[in-house]
């Protein structure tokens, strides 16, 4: 009992480490699987992988409650999984199925799960800053102790909304945490080409926001930095900026010709810094090879199950295209419904390939 009340740090740390490792391995397995199924033509649209960056998602979200919010980016699979979205709901969404977490309307670039406080990937770079400032403002207005975390890349810090929202959060002392995944590139441009500063963290000084720079390959380092930031925010201490130095091991998107860097650069970084290998090493004998293997096996089984689920799930009904833009558009007593119904009626008769205009409707 006592050791439950006051567990020896080493043990708590070990359990934490294994939990972080499990999350990172699940992300890795998920994204390697996404890559495979994307190339096999089972996943439409764009997909951006975060392989190499898993420690940031895992170390950050391990500090969050389900009622805390995160805003993600176009590279959001890791954030989404780490915040708690089931693989089935994610894979089904990427496969564009009706059982996807967004009913197949969002896909990889616009995946969200409000049931776990995941306010969405965003197809617009820097689109998350406002959402997080707003979620933090909402917590302050509603007098809760929730916090909101914004994940973003180095490239996003060159957009205006980064500047405006960080300043706003500082001035209003909002419970917002800004987690920069500095992976050295924005698509084809390196940070050296797009900013004349070594650490983006210096920008936080311009808002009076405290900043730390951490090794983004070290899940414990990220976890500890976020632990402090989350504690500050929850207790009314205001925003924190955490720059995680990391690296994108895959192309910007699946299929990227990667003309802007050498293969060797990628291999060097990953052989030196793969965050999964790193954490396994840190844990040492605290984690047996068998246990390590089991985590991988379980993750692969979870993914295979998710793929089977997605494949056996139906595509959305065509008529679903015409619903969901407005609250009220399925409710016959609502003015929005009346006009959107009229819009469908104006559209569908000309679309014989969609059958009669009568399909769909409230359901």
């Amino acid at each position: 009992m006592t050791d439950v009340l006051t567990p020896p740090p080493s043990r708590a740390r070990r359990e934490l480490g294994i939990a972080l490792l499990r999350t990172m391995i699940r992300i890795r397995v998920l994204e390697e699987g996404i890559e495979k199924h994307f190339l096999a033509g089972e996943i439409p649209g764009f997909a951006h992988l975060s392989i190499g960056q898993e420690a940031v998602a895992a170390g950050t979200c391990a500090n969050l409650r389900a009622d805390d919010s995160i805003a993600s980016t176009h590279r959001g699979h890791g954030h989404t999984l780490a915040k708690g979205t089931p693989m089935r709901a994610m894979v089904a969404e990427l496969f564009a199925r009706a059982t996807g977490v967004c009913k197949g309307k969002g896909g990889s670039m616009h995946i969200a799960d409000f049931s776990v406080g995941m306010l969405g990937a965003n197809g617009v770079v820097a689109g998350g800053f406002g959402l997080v400032a707003g979620a933090a403002l909402s917590a302050q207005q509603r007098k809760t102790d929730q916090v909101a975390v914004c994940f973003f890349g180095d490239g996003a810090t060159n957009r205006g909304p980064f500047h405006e929202n960080l300043n706003l959060c500082a001035v209003w002392n909002l419970p917002a945490i800004f987690v920069l995944e500095n992976n050295k590139y924005a698509s084809t441009t390196s940070t050296a080409e797009t900013m004349k500063i070594a650490d983006v963290a210096v920008r936080a000084d311009g808002y009076g926001i405290p900043a730390v720079v951490v090794d983004g390959f070290d899940a414990f380092a990220v976890y500890d930095a976020l632990g402090a930031a989350v504690a500050r925010a929850r207790s009314g201490g205001g925003p924190t900026f955490v720059e995680c130095k990391t690296y994108r091991a895959r192309g910007h998107f699946i299929g990227d010709p990667e003309r802007y860097r050498q293969k060797a650069e990628v291999e060097d970084v990953m052989s030196a810094s793969d965050p999964i290998v790193r954490l396994q090493a840190t844990l040492g004998e605290a984690l047996s090879p068998d246990d390590f293997e089991r985590i991988w096996r379980e993750a692969r089984a979870e993914f295979d199950d998710a793929v089977a689920f997605a494949r056996s799930s139906p595509s959305p009904e065509k008529s679903e295209a015409f619903f969901g833009a407005y609250a009220g558009d399925r409710d016959a007593s609502d003015a929005v419904h009346r006009i959107e119904e009229r819009e469908r009626a104006a559209f569908l008769p000309f679309a014989p390939e969609l059958g009669s205009g009568s399909h769909g409707g409230a359901h």
Partner: protein, 328 residues
């Protein structure tokens, strides 16, 4: 019925909705300490505190972005854009975030945010402070767009906008703020979004309009009456959802329609309405639908130029007269 200024009618709406729902809050530039550049926020921080009525930095993109984020997480923010022209500084947040999130995310969320946008031509404010931009947002699925014409609309539509679970743009004409009019009181008075109001019934011609141009159309109707022409005037109130039933009804009863607004005529809401009438009321029409709107130029500074480039009562009356006399 008590008489209020348009500005005070919006104040009453804010007060009632903020009392009714503690998640309603307000942010914008120069609204709290000063009470807004048109006095439209006077006294609110004194009653609700400076946390629920916030002066902000000059950061339109952040204000709207944060409005969306707050709306996604349990609040009903009202964001004041200072001038409608500055919506352009937050266009991604309005169009790619507020308007699309509910749909993209498979209806997991609602975005109950209201944007207040003082707009329109007045007092030589010049090209960058005089625009009427509602047409862009009618073309952007996911948004509701309302345009009050008088104090009654001002209160009732603002309350409806705040209560709506959809992101709603509320375009309030700067020149209307001082205008007084009767306003039903009581918490329950709301002007339903998507329903037009017929201001005047006449059988010869129908003038379909909204916002400040409703008053100009009523003046025009008076001029027409002197010529023995009996005009219907419809105040659309909402430009999305549009009340197509009211539009069809006016076309069916008069067979001659003028559509008028202060926004630029080319590509304006009037184009949507005239095109729709042409599609759905083809056999009702005895004459072309006449569209009136601002000339296809920015709004000039010099008063003589400014007053020459948007439709007022004589212009509306002239168009209606020509329709009635089949001169079009």
């Amino acid at each position: 019925m008590p008489t209020l200024s348009f500005s005070d009618a919006t104040l009453e709406a804010m007060r009632e909705e903020m009392r009714r729902d503690p998640t309603v809050f307000l942010m914008g530039e120069d609204i709290a300490k000063q009470g807004g550049i048109f006095g439209q926020f006077k006294g609110l921080p004194q009653e609700f505190g400076f946390d629920r009525v916030r002066d902000t930095p000059i950061s339109e993109a952040a204000l709207v972005g944060a409005g969306v984020g707050a709306a996604l997480t349990g609040c009903r923010p009202v964001v004041d854009m200072h001038f409608a022209d500055f919506i352009t500084c937050a266009m991604d947040e309005v169009v790619n975030q507020a308007a699309k999130l509910r749909y993209m995310f498979g209806e997991q969320c609602v975005v109950p945010m209201t944007l207040r946008a003082p707009d329109g031509i007045t007092k030589s404010a010049g090209s960058q402070h005089s625009q009427a931009l509602e047409s862009w947002f009618v073309h952007t699925p996911g948004l509701e767009v309302v345009v009050p014409a008088d104090a009654e609309d001002a209160k009732g539509l603002l309350k409806a906008a705040i209560r709506s679970d959809n992101p709603t743009l509320y375009f309030e004409h700067k020149a209307l703020f001082p205008q007084r009019g009767p306003v039903p009181d009581g918490d329950d008075f709301v002007v339903p979004i998507g329903k037009a109001k017929t201001m005047r019934e006449g059988s010869d011609v129908a003038i379909l309009t909204y916002g400040i141009t409703v008053g100009r159309a009523m003046e025009a109707a008076a001029l027409l009456e002197a010529d023995g022409i009996d005009a219907t005037v419809v105040n659309l109130r909402s430009v999305w959802p549009l009340d197509y039933d009211a539009i069809a009804d006016a076309a069916a009863r008069t067979h001659r329609v003028v559509v008028a607004h202060e926004a630029v005529r080319v590509g304006g809401v009037g184009a949507e309405i005239a095109a729709w009438i042409g599609e759905h009321c083809f056999d009702d029409l005895d004459a072309p639908v006449a569209r009136l709107g601002a000339a296809h130029v920015p709004v000039p500074f010099a008063p003589v130029l400014q007053e020459a480039m948007y439709p007022k009562a004589p212009m509306i009356a002239d168009a209606a007269r020509r329709l009635a006399r089949r001169e079009l």
